[in-house]
Amino acid sequence: SQKIEQNSEALNIQEGKTATLTCNYTNYSPAYLQWYRQDPGRGPVFLLLIRENEKEKRKERLKVTFDTTLKQSLFHITASQPADSATYLCALDERSNYQLIWGAGTKLIIKP
């Protein structure tokens, strides 16, 4: 069956360190993979998109990698700050109908 898996346990990181979140998928062939941030009680906010033919994408302190052989995307936040604490969701697009398929998200906690 088709699945998107993100770490269900919260990730605790010390301020200033790099946080790395994982998104694994099976039985999909995504054209794009996207990462969103969601704060409690709010809708997700788009962060980064990476295409199937791209290996890496960066935006300020954020970096996303995409390995279609491993069927995995890694999301990195460098020089992490307490304000980065949130739930991070990955979503993929199967190219067929502009529809995103979502992971359950990983809660990131940055400790001062």
Binding site: A31, G41, F46, R51, A91, Y98, Q99, W102, A104, G105
Partner: protein, 114 residues
């Protein structure tokens, strides 16, 4: 900056009652989505519109849920009758029909059925 507007922000209703949610997408966005999100899970697509047409409503419980987007702009999602299991966050999102599908979300409606 353009935003997706949703109302109400919170709704408490008794089971078996009717409830409705409203969404106004970003101007010019042809695609509109309604999602349901249960705490600790990712958004689950209920219905997707392209302009005023339904593209996908395969996950919409049609015996009690209905959605419309009459003029291809704003949209309404209705539940009748509401059940306890419908308690969740209902999110509306929109996207421009470009070569990728970055979605812009509203603040959501937190529904509690008692």
């Amino acid at each position: 900056e353009a935003e997706v507007a949703q109302s109400p922000r919170y709704k408490i209703t008794e089971k078996s009652q009717a409830v409705a949610f409203w969404c106004d997408p970003i101007s010019g966005h042809a695609t509109l989505y309604w999602y349901r999100q249960i705490l600790g899970q990712g958004p689950e697509l209920l219905v997707q519109f392209q302009d005023e047409s339904v593209v996908d409503d395969s996950q919409l419980p049609k015996d009690r849920f209905s959605a419309e987007r009459l003029k291809g702009v704003d949209s309404t999602l209705k539940i009748q009758p509401a059940e306890l299991g419908d308690s969740a966050m209902y999110l509306c999102a929109s996207s421009a029909q470009t070569d990728y599908t970055e979605a812009f979300f509203g603040q959501g409606t937190r529904l509690t059925v008692v």
